[in-house]
């Protein structure tokens, strides 16, 4: 079969590169789209939290205790500090330094595992159950929603790390490392408003 | 094409006009019988005019556009059109739309203010509770200051702004009497209010307007606008205890109601039956309808309902009573006397 119309070849794209990193890469746009979706979900959950708070007589409702501070603060501190190795890993990927990037991904995996342990203590010190009242339900909703993102990123980072230690790193993988780091930035930044609402909302917000 | 389009349009105009004449009725926006309903009716009239003119303008422009020229697929398409006049048309069109919208928005705002302004201060004198699938009616007895309970039939005094409080006992319902007012939802956990200023005596009808489960269709409210004297008499009648049985059969009916299953859910003031799960039966025979409009209230329908409630209103909360035909007859006979 031939083209149904007369054509004139006016150029070639043969010389173009076969991969790109950061916002130039196609996968970055997919990641960005999913971050928009999840960011909207976080915003709406926060809106639901504030809405229920506005409807309630007191916050926390009389008889409920606010969550303990310690483990929430630990999680927040570690998460914010983890941005340093995370950004470093992304920079190594952009510079196509496979050795460093690989160790960076491993470090991020271990940090995420550690954060999951801290998250477990957070749940234990919320001082309320999801089924005792709407305050409990919406608090759990926010933290569970965020935890699913930590788990997703942990899974992704761990698989990426395992792959990097067993395969030769191509250009596409540097792009993957960068996108993975971008996603972790998102997970950490999304946590900050949730942390404020969950831990400070029942106190002075 | 334009001919056919306009023929269709005129068909609808005719259909519309023909049916509007027959649209008045006991449950119709077209027969407003209160201040509130009249304002809304007027607003609807204005909207119909503005929107009707807008629609005719669109159709006229479309007809002209279609009539002007014909083309063929083989023709060379126009890729650099000269649209100076159409550009001006677009601006004029935008101005028209904005003017029309301003008219409608201002009118809507004024009606909203009028509705809010008609609300008297002070406590409501009528409370309606939506329940699957009937209406609990409570009115304040001005004589005693106590709340008097009834069900599925509401009376309102003529020319008096009456604040009505609406609540729900289970799921969301919506309180709607089109001839008297727009609807207001009955939302669990909230108390809503609306005010009705009836201007016309007589019976009208309301119906639940928010889907509330299996028998949403059979949740009607019978409404009567009374003269102030009649209204006071109605309230006094509702406040009175249930009439005593007049004959032995009725007495047996009362005994069955008190000792049998009826009294576990229903209340008959002045008797031992005092449960509040189901409609108050103290003056049931004074009402025009049975089971929230499911049937006109007659001896026959009462007896049928007692024997087989699920046949008349499948899914209704009222269980089969298990009474023998003779017992059911006695109960119906007793209830028939409770005017």
């Amino acid at each position: 079969m031939t083209a149904p119309f007369e054509i004139e070849v006016v150029g070639s794209v043969e010389g173009l590169p076969k991969s790109a990193i950061g916002p130039r890469s196609l996968l970055w746009w997919g990641t960005f789209g999913f971050m928009l979706i999840e960011g909207t979900a976080f915003l709406l959950a926060a809106a639901a939290y504030l809405y229920l708070r506005g409807q309630a007589g007191g916050w926390p409702p009389p008889g409920d205790a606010p969550p303990d501070h310690l483990w929430g603060a630990v999680f927040t501190g570690v998460a914010v500090l983890s941005l340093i190795p995370n950004l470093w890993t992304a920079r190594m990927a952009k510079q196509k330094r496979a050795l460093e990037a690989r160790w960076g991904v491993l470090a991020m995996t271990l940090i995420a595992v550690g954060l999951m342990v801290v998250r477990g203590f957070e749940f234990a010190h919320l001082n309320l159950r999801w089924d005792q009242d709407a305050y409990g339900s919406v608090t759990w909703l926010m933290i569970v929603l965020h935890t699913t993102h930590v788990v997703t990123d942990l899974g992704d980072t761990a698989v990426l790390g395992a792959w990097l230690f067993s395969h030769e790193c191509g250009d596409d993988q540097f792009s993957d490392i960068n996108d993975n780091a971008v996603y972790w930035n998102f997970v950490v930044l999304a946590w900050l408003p949730i942390y404020l609402l969950v831990y400070w909302g029942p106190r002075w917000l | 094409m334009s001919g056919r389009a306009s023929r269709i349009a005129s068909l609808f105009a005719g259909l519309c006009a023909a049916s509007l004449a027959g649209c008045a009725g006991p449950q119709s926006v077209f027969s407003p019988a209160s201040d509130q309903a009249r304002w809304l009716h007027g607003l609807f009239g204005l909207m119909l005019w503005v929107c009707g003119i807008a629609y005719l303008l669109v159709l006229a422009f479309l007809a002209v556009a279609l009539w002007r020229a014909r083309g063929a697929l083989a023709e060379t398409p126009i890729t650099e059109p000269h649209d100076g006049r159409l550009q001006w048309g677009l601006r004029a069109w935008a101005a028209l739309i904005v003017a029309g919208l301003l008219t409608l928005a201002v009118a809507s705002f004024l009606v909203d203010r009028a509705l809010a302004g008609a609300e008297p201060r002070g406590d409501p004198s009528v409370r309606v509770t939506g329940q699957q699938w009937w209406w609990r009616i409570e009115v304040k007895d001005p004589a005693s200051g106590r709340w008097v309970e009834s069900a599925n039939e509401l009376h309102l005094p003529l020319n008096q702004p009456t604040p009505v409080e609406v609540v729900s006992a289970d799921v969301i319902h919506s309180f709607w009497i089109p001839n008297l007012s727009g609807k207001i939802d009955m939302v669990p956990g909230r108390v809503n209010r609306l005010t009705i200023t009836p201007r016309q005596l007589g019976w009208v009808r309301g119906q639940c307007a928010e889907f509330c489960g299996l028998q949403h269709a059979q949740m009607a409210l019978d409404v009567k606008v009374d003269s102030p004297a009649d209204y006071a008499a109605w309230v006094a009648r509702q406040a009175a205890p249930a009439a005593a049985p007049k004959d032995p059969v009725a007495a047996r009916g009362l005994a069955l109601v008190q000792d049998g299953t009826c009294g576990q859910c229903h209340a008959l003031r002045g008797t031992a039956a005092a449960a509040r799960a189901a409609p108050d039966l103290t003056h049931i025979a004074g009402r025009r309808f049975l089971a929230a409009g499911a049937a006109p209230l007659t001896r026959g329908s009462l007896q049928g309902w007692i024997a087989q409630p699920q046949a008349l209103k499948p899914g209704a909360e009222m269980p089969a009573t298990g009474l023998s035909p003779r017992d059911a007859e006695a109960v119906a006979h007793y209830l028939e006397g409770l005017t």
């Binding site: 079969m1 149904p4 004139e8 006016v10 150029g11 070639s12 043969e14 173009l16 590169p17 991969s19 196609l26 997919g30 789209g33 979706i37 979900a41 639901a48 709407a134 339900s137 919406v138 067993s166 395969h167 030769e168 596409d172 | 519309c16 049916s19 027959g22 009725g25 809304l40 607003l43 609807f44 909207m47 629609y55 422009f61 083309g71 126009i78 890729t79 059109p81 159409l86 935008a94 904005v98 919208l101 409608l104 928005a105 009118a107 809507s108 705002f109 009606v111 909203d112 289970d170 799921v171 727009g182 207001i184 939802d185 809503n192 009808r205 307007a209 889907f211 299996l214 269709a217 499948p314």
Partner: protein, 635 residues
């Protein structure tokens, strides 16, 4: 990799053969299950949605038989409630939105001169998830676990206290399925339109159709999380005893409505906006001129997309919110008439300034204008907070929403179906039968739905399975039922025409209508690789302005799947992206996800254990093919 000399040396026939081999699927069932061809995926979507459209239409006829006369005993309350719940849920979640997405999946790459979507495997996954949603609703229906609480399932009616059994769970999980699918498609469409445009197709030369698909993809991204959130809350209320909607312990039943309508109102527009894209393409082609008012139309689409998120409260005027807020939402809802009205002007002006050719697709657009405008105007009435108190939840709204969704979205869809049918099948649908179907559907629809306005004003509420003779609604209801039967007859003619033309229609050739955009610059039906070369674009209507030989680029591999990526605004060639090959993993991932969703109806632990196979299948899906590294190798 193919060497440069190799590409140049390849003859036309040889390069086509090599491209066909590279982009083709494996034969047989394996190919069917693994395909990532956007045309095949879209065709499946459209066939499933059309089949459901027929089923939902039959449900509608069934309901109209029940309501044709007072006190009919056919369906009974349970049967009727199931019918309208199934009709509404299926039409909105499984037909209208997915069919518009399917049109995007099929057309966007073709209109961009591309060989596939940005994320082909995600595309396959979307379809399988959508199919899962279809089965999630209809298999329980066969097993008599049909949702029976409407398409909105307000709490607390749908909560644990008033909806025992699993009917409400089925509804909520069906939504989870379809929203996962829809969100995946919208990310895919968004990335495709932003990065896979042909060189020269700057944002200022993006056809209106692609603008409409881009905007509705973005709207999907912002709107659908709300419904996923609210159905998740409903599921946890029912499953693990949370109290989001329980006022006794601090919950709030209106939270459900706020979240639902924050999604629900934009949803209407993300059905309607793609339809405007169809209208733009059809009007332009059959008026034989470039569309009037490109800039106003694009700005209108954008402003509809933005405004759509500021009106959800107009679905809640009767719940008793403060009056001041209601006035704001009245103004915002009315304001949307400005961009919509301007677009209507632009379509008519295009016909006015062109030379209309009265083929069936244009008839559908004329029917769209004449019908949709009635829905828009009745929308103004319902936008007024006080007047809406008389209109909402009555048959007036049933009329309004069908004028908007059928007149505003389905008529353009039928036009689009007729318009692009020859491109998809290589054959043209019968004009004569197309016109018969058009007049039957247009007439039947208006006869069926116009009287509903009056019924609503006469006090007939929505969602009632019966009414008494005394209400006086009988005569108009029989008219409505007759109209709906006529429209159903028209739909049957339409379907028969589509089926018959598939085998017997006149051969189409690449460009039967003299179209303006790139999809007409390839064969009908397009080969697996869509285009032999990369087209270059220099105007909004490239096929009309490029009168000489068409300029193209070459240089993409013939033996590996490659796409040309261009910059997001100016569409400058950027790099060559490897495009994934067919794979079974999207299907397996969808199966694993389905198992997790279905399981979570019964136990919250399904989310934990179900996540493991989901993770495993997704890992396999994305596993890159690179040589293994041996210990001690340099990185």
């Amino acid at each position: 990799m193919t060497g440069a000399a190799d590409i140049h040396a390849a003859s036309d026939a040889e390069r086509c053969a090599r491209l066909a081999k590279t982009w083709g699927d494996a034969p047989g069932l394996w190919g069917f299950l693994t395909t990532t061809d956007h045309k095949k995926i879209a065709a499946r979507y459209i066939l499933v949605a059309m089949a459901l459209l027929v089923l939902d239409g039959l449900l509608a006829v069934d309901m109209r038989l029940q309501l044709a006369f007072p006190a009919v005993k056919r369906l009974g309350p349970q049967g009727f409630n199931e019918s309208f719940s199934l009709h509404g849920s299926s039409m909105l979640f499984l037909v209208s939105v997915p069919v518009m997405e399917a049109m995007a999946i099929w057309l966007v790459p073709l209109m961009l001169g591309q060989r596939n979507m940005a994320f082909p495997r995600l595309n396959a996954f979307s379809f399988w998830m959508y199919l899962g949603g279809v089965l999630m609703l209809w298999i329980p229906h066969i097993a008599n676990v049909t949702p029976d609480l409407g398409w909105f399932e307000y709490a607390p009616l749908s909560g644990p206290n008033y909806a025992p059994g699993h009917r409400a769970d089925v509804w909520a999980q069906m939504i989870t399925f379809t929203e996962v699918a829809a969100l995946a498609v919208s990310v895919n469409t968004f990335a495709t339109i932003m990065r896979l445009r042909p060189p020269g197709m700057t944002l200022a030369r993006l056809p209106i159709f692609l603008w409409s698909m881009l905007i509705s993809a973005l709207m999907t991204i912002f709107a659908l999380p709300a419904v996923m959130l609210v159905t998740s809350m409903l599921i946890t209320d029912r499953l693990v005893g949370t109290h989001f909607f329980d006022p006794a312990v601090g919950g709030d039943v209106l939270l459900f409505q706020h979240l639902f309508w924050f999604f629900g109102h934009p949803e209407v527009y993300l059905i309607f906006i793609p339809a405007l894209g169809f209208v733009a393409s059809i009007v332009e082609t059959f008026s034989r001129r470039v569309g009037f008012g490109y800039v106003p139309v694009v700005l209108s689409l954008v402003s509809i997309g933005v405004l759509a998120f500021g009106l959800w409260v107009h679905h809640m005027f009767a719940v008793g919110l403060p009056k001041l807020g209601n006035s704001f939402y009245t103004a915002a809802s009315m304001a949307i008439a400005v961009p919509t009205g301007l677009q209507i002007f632009c379509w008519i002006a295009t016909i006015f300034g062109g030379k209309p050719v009265f083929r069936t697709p244009l008839l559908w657009v004329i029917g769209f204008i004449a019908t949709f405008v009635i829905g828009g105007l009745s929308g103004l009435m319902t936008a007024s907070a006080p007047l809406d108190l008389q209109l909402t939840d009555t048959y007036f709204v049933v009329a309004h929403l069908h004028y908007v969704l059928v007149g505003g979205a389905m008529f353009p869809l039928f036009g689009a179906f007729t318009f692009w049918y020859p491109k998809a099948t290589g054959r043209v649908m019968s004009e004569a039968w197309g016109k018969v179907a058009f007049w039957l559907i247009l007439g039947g629809f208006n006869l069926g739905f116009f009287p509903m306005h009056i019924l609503g004003l006469m006090g007939m509420p929505r969602r009632i399975y019966t009414y008494s003779d005394a209400m006086g609604w009988g005569p108009l209801n029989i008219v409505v039922s007759i109209g709906s039967v006529i429209a159903a007859g028209g739909a049957a003619v339409f379907v028969a025409n589509a089926l018959f033309s598939y085998w017997r229609g006149a051969k189409a050739g690449p460009d039967p209508w003299g179209g303006a955009t790139l999809e007409w610059a390839t064969q009908s039906p397009p080969p697996a690789y869509n285009f032999d070369h990369i087209p270059v674009v220099d105007s909004l209507t490239p096929l009309w302005t490029q009168t000489g030989p068409r300029p193209v680029l070459e240089g993409l591999s013939l033996d590996h799947r490659e796409l040309l990526l261009t910059s997001p605004v100016e569409a400058e060639p950027d790099y060559r992206q490897h495009s994934p090959t067919p794979s079974i993993w999207p299907l397996l991932a969808a199966l694993a996800t389905s198992a997790m969703f279905v399981g979570s109806i019964f136990s919250p632990w399904a989310l934990v254990w179900g996540a493991l196979p989901v993770g495993a299948t997704i890992t396999a899906w994305f596993w890159p093919k690179q040589p293994r590294r041996h210990l001690g190798d340099k990185p």
